[in-house]
């Protein structure tokens, strides 16, 4: 490098945070029992649209909840299995974070209800985080920050039932989404190397992926919405979201490597939010690790906050249970919001998928 080139290099430190002393102990994903094939959508959007959309998104099957089953129900089943497998005493859990955009009720926080169902101690804090695609990474970030502040054991329960907010006749969203829940155990461990996080937001993209109804602001009309799409249903401008992803994700991965002082080759697996198969293949090439970027959206669809744990428990389970693994987890989308987490994971005591 010449002196001139060196002078042109940015002098700002890499963005992000390094949190020492945090370990992942286990991850459980929970899928609902109802499995839907693509043929189930031919009646609502037409066979031709199904073929066109599937070519792009790559979803072949997805699992949807039955009426009356919620994201917290899925997360509860995952959490029960995780607590049992790790043999964690219920009164040893210091915090419960519920990450979801499909909560049980407007108030109280669903985390408080889950706290009760799981029989956790009165001194255990419980709160909700309303993020989707990026939510799992934010959950890990918050859990790690709580551990850095003195908590010993934190449960991150992340899950969504986007099937409940899609219009079955909207071809942009009808086939893309699946439902799932998850539970992840985070624990203090003085010997753990620092986990690295890079996080960000761009509220200018809020209207491009939105359920505008159900809150306390009267939804503003948006001429881009398909006619007849209710404010209670999800609207997605796929092209805009895709363009955002191409702008945000490769630089997010670069920033995270830079902050951690690592190269692409030193990361064992890039676990990306399973947004869309075409997008994932493109991003995997851009990152430069298509062989280490697992894709499972064909089997589960886009499960919002649960996609990353679903990759961990389905595609990486054997590896995570048996060998130390350097994982970069990358979430991006609704908000816009994005985040990455680089963990040096020791073998996990529990990593599995259950049916709820």
């Amino acid at each position: 490098m010449t002196m001139d080139a060196a002078a042109a290099e940015p002098t700002a430190p890499p963005p992000g945070f390094a949190v020492p002393g945090v370990r992942l102990r286990g991850v459980v994903s929970a899928l609902p029992g109802r499995r839907l094939e693509n043929a189930a959508f031919e009646a609502s959007v037409g066979a031709e649209a199904v073929a066109d959309v599937v070519k792009m998104i790559g979803v072949q099957t997805r699992y949807w909840v039955e009426e009356g089953q919620t994201a917290s129900d899925l997360c509860f089943v995952a959490a029960e299995r995780l607590i049992e497998a790790l043999a964690w005493a219920r009164d040893s859990v210091d915090a419960l974070i519920f990450v979801s955009q499909t909560f049980d009720q407007r108030l109280p926080a669903t985390a408080c209800v889950l706290h009760g169902r799981l029989g956790l101690a009165p001194r255990c804090q419980a709160f909700d985080v309303g993020l989707g695609c990026s939510g799992y990474v934010y959950g890990l970030w918050l859990a790690s920050s709580l551990v850095a502040a003195g908590c010993r054991r934190v449960l991150v329960l992340a899950g969504d039932t986007i099937s409940r907010v899609i219009d079955p006749s909207d071809r942009a969203t009808a086939l893309l989404f699946g439902d799932a829940g998850s539970a992840t155990a985070v624990e203090a461990d003085a010997d753990a190397p620092p986990a690295v996080f890079v996080l960000g937001s761009d509220g200018a993209g809020a209207a491009n992926l939105i359920v505008s109804g159900g809150g306390f602001r009267t939804p503003a009309p948006d001429p881009r919405r398909p006619p007849g799409l209710s404010p209670e249903h999800l609207y997605m401008d796929g092209g805009e979201v895709f363009a955002f992803t191409l702008r945000a994700v490769p630089s997010l991965v670069r920033d995270t490597l830079r902050r951690a002082g690592r190269t692409t080759e030193e990361v064992d697996s890039f676990v990306l939010h399973q947004a869309n198969q075409f997008m994932l293949r493109h991003l995997a090439k851009k990152i430069g690790a298509p062989d280490r970027t697992p894709i499972n959206i064909d089997r589960f669809g886009n499960t919002s906050s649960a996609t990353i744990p679903l990759v961990l428990t389905n595609d990486l389970a054997e590896r995570l249970a048996s060998a130390p693994t350097r994982l970069m987890m990358v979430g991006f989308g609704v908000g816009y919001s994005w985040g990455s987490a680089l963990f040096d994971a020791a073998p996990l005591a529990c990593v599995e998928t259950v049916t709820a």
Binding site: G239, A243, L246, H282
Partner: protein
């Protein structure tokens, strides 16, 4: 034949030889899926990100070429 035109031929599901500057996009199902695929193709071939709305407004392949050149 450039890699970009070959990629366009794949998106339009036509013979690569049929892709040229005068090709009319509307004749080949220039919908949102095609636009998104083309954004990715431009990123792959030229390492440039073009605006989706501007791309959707292109009428012929030459308009895409001009958009790519202008995004440098």
């Amino acid at each position: 034949m450039s890699a970009f035109y070959e990629g366009l031929a794949e998106i339009f599901e036509i013979e690569p030889a049929a892709v040229g500057p005068d090709l009319v996009l509307a004749d080949h199902n220039w919908d949102s899926l095609a636009v998104v695929s083309t954004i990715a193709l431009i990123d792959e071939c030229y390492n440039r990100l073009v605006d989706g709305a501007a791309l959707a407004r292109c009428e012929r392949v030459r308009d895409i070429d001009a958009l790519v050149a202008a995004s440098a």
